[in-house]
Symmetry: none
Subunit: 416 residues, 2 copies
């Protein structure tokens, strides 16, 4: 069954609110075996709402709208649907009672404008909305459906999970889409694409590559009558990809790279301390986004000024000789963090976050070093300037990547 989503509201169209409802619904349709073909946003303008609804009504089996169910003059979803179906809205006594009761329960009189929220049309039945005043509409005619939900995420999500999704599942659950995402790191998207291409032709399987901050993701998708069947198609492809990419694959589905690092550290009962400069604490913050990180992450030092690096154990002569933004200083920071805090591993990061160059070193240049239990220190330099925040994020990812390689013994015998 073909579906599309329409978000209604000038605030969303003009970007004053980012539309999270469409993503919420879109993520949940595949589990119901419903294909989403389009989502669109239209402002509070009756003519354009009608045009957009009409096209959707003509090309899709299921149209889901969010927003425009409020009491004011620019809440026009009901008017739009009524117009497209050529039906007359009327005030439903039961709904009117419910809306009035909602206000009475909160001790204020119902503004007359709210009466709109008691409207129905012949093809519509109300959808319960205990979290707000506006009931949704379940409109059904000519074996096509329009579902109108409120724009307030809390109201919409409750209506979706308790009312809409169960009904859709009961009636339409057809083919189920199951996906498995494999997350790789250290290989560019183009190369990942080439390495995976031999499997693209696998029947009944779809494979996509997606470049992400934490590396390139490979998504395997399979449709089947049952979850089991879909998994049976995915598994051999997954195994083949695991063979092809080896431990360039660090995780799957909802795994985060910081969570992966936490797992590796837990397995090895290893501890970590970090000394950061240009990332300003983002590495420590990212690592500690993982619940329970305190079992391995002991301390972080944000030595934002040169004197602080020295105060926390970086030899002044190294900075004097090589400069504060140098591989040598990064290595000394990693070693100092490890020794100073007394952990198994230490990480040091120094670089130029930008936007301006520093001492002639271009913004985006970052040196990341990892000190390991055997006393070796490995260093890696990245340079890519997509703005200050991006430079920081990239440096953090690089640090986690280098730590991972150290933990997997991929650096052994290759101290730099």
């Amino acid at each position: 069954m073909k579906a599309e989503i329409i978000a209604i509201g000038t605030e969303i169209l003009l970007g004053e609110i980012v539309d999270t409802n469409s993503a919420y619904i879109a993520q949940r349709l595949p589990e119901l075996g419903i294909d989403l073909l389009y989502t669109s946003v239209v402002g509070d303008n009756l003519g354009r709402i009608v045009e957009t609804l009409e096209r959707a009504w003509n090309r899709s089996d299921l149209v889901i709208t969010t927003g425009g169910l409020g009491p004011t003059d620019d809440d026009l979803t009901r008017e739009g649907v009524a117009r497209v179906l050529g039906e007359e809205p009327y005030v439903d006594p039961g709904l009117e009672q419910r809306v009035r009761a909602w206000f009475a329960g909160r001790g204020y009189p119902m503004p007359e404008s709210n009466i709109k929220q008691a409207w129905l049309i012949p093809s519509a039945r109300p959808i319960d909305n205990p979290r707000g005043t506006a009931p949704g509409w379940w409109v059904e005619r000519d074996s096509r459906i329009i579902i109108c939900m409120p724009g307030v995420p809390a109201e919409m999500e409750r209506m979706w999970t308790k009312e809409v999704a169960p009904e859709l599942e009961r009636r339409f659950a057809g083919e189920v889409l199951v996906t498995r995402t494999l997350k790789t790191v250290g290989i560019g998207e183009g190369t990942v694409d080439e390495m995976a291409r031999p499997l693209y032709a696998t029947p009944g399987i779809g494979i996509g590559t997606y470049a992400r901050a934490d590396g390139v993701h490979l998504r395997i998708g399979a449709k089947a009558r049952t979850r089991e069947e879909a998994w049976a198609r995915i598994r051999p492809v997954e195994e083949e990809l695991e063979r092809i990419f080896g431990n360039a694959i660090w995780g799957k589905d909802d795994d985060t790279f910081e969570g992966h690092i936490a797992d590796l550290m837990h397995e090895r009962r290893a501890t970590l301390a970090v000394m950061e400069s240009c990332t300003g604490g983002l590495l420590a913050s990212t690592l500690t986004d993982v619940p329970g990180a305190s079992s391995y992450f002991i301390a972080g030092l944000v030595t934002y000024q040169t004197e602080q690096k020295i105060a926390f154990g970086v030899p002044a002569e190294i900075i004097a000789e090589h400069g504060v933004v140098s591989q040598e200083t990064a290595k000394a920071m990693a070693a100092a963090a490890r020794e100073r805090i007394g952990t198994d591993y230490g990480i040091g990061i120094t670089g130029v976050a930008g936007p301006d160059p520093q001492d002639g070193i271009p913004a985006g240049t970052v040196h990341v070093a990892v000190a390991t239990p055997d006393g070796e220190v490995y260093v890696l330099t990245t340079s890519m300037n997509q703005g200050r925040q991006a430079v920081k994020r990239r440096a953090v990812t690089t640090a986690m990547l280098l730590l991972r390689r150290a933990l997997l013994g991929q650096l052994a015998g290759r101290p730099s």
Copy 2:
């Protein structure tokens, strides 16, 4: 002129990424006097991309797309545009050189699939993208325009501000909408609304209030033939609002709260050190997102474990007596950071990030303390649990808010 935005990508359609690009562009079109009528999302499917582009091409003067410019088989924006205009893509030698140089500069060979990124069609000229491999397309024919930009926000935003917006302004700016956003803190939205209401009736002016993480924003908007005219309408209203809200207003337009803190610290030539526990470095990282923060931010200590707090100067007996998550410990951390690093101000943060309670203290409980040059220490406790990341962000905002009040002398004589 009528515009619409099309976001292209299955990951966006399926809600795996929330589309922030459309909101970014939508917010900036009014300044150019360009009316946005629709935005839509379509997956990586050539047929549907063509259908969506064709409708847009027929009903809008300006079509802006984001995404689908990558090197892989499911990056289909170029193919879609070429199909709609009935033109043949060819490899542009200059672009090919640039793409190859991009890879050479990073020391890896260019996967052949990337050659797509050197494509042009007769009606298209490339738009420079120094932050990535994919140039944009500026397509112009029959006095209609299609602008194709990359999906990576950092690349898209740079392309928009440096290339696309200036060109659009030069050529099309009609009636201009100018807005001024005043950012307040410490007052609820309802109250802000009441305080500002007397000005709502001002002719030729629109005023809106928006609750945001960093406080309540007031947006003043005015449309006029020229920027000057619009500003002439806005200025008196802005001045009146500044009079009404006084220093509850901390910034305007694109100001960030961390930037505001940096300004206050610079003005006072004051220095800061922080000791963080549950925020794990997020405060330091947020403060150092501001270029030049190193002039006041001296160092951050992420004392994630109790022993580390003690090692960096928090009296063991305070922790023993009051517990590690307590106002007293937060105050001791702020004082220790200030004394240990030798700065004018110190901030201490301790709390339970969650998801689980700690020693019977519910997740979301956070104590934030600020130590000032006169030796006073002020503390503030927040408790709201909307997930680990949200708890961290809220704690950071609270810390910056408390520091601001200390810097403005609003806490004087009120040590806690």
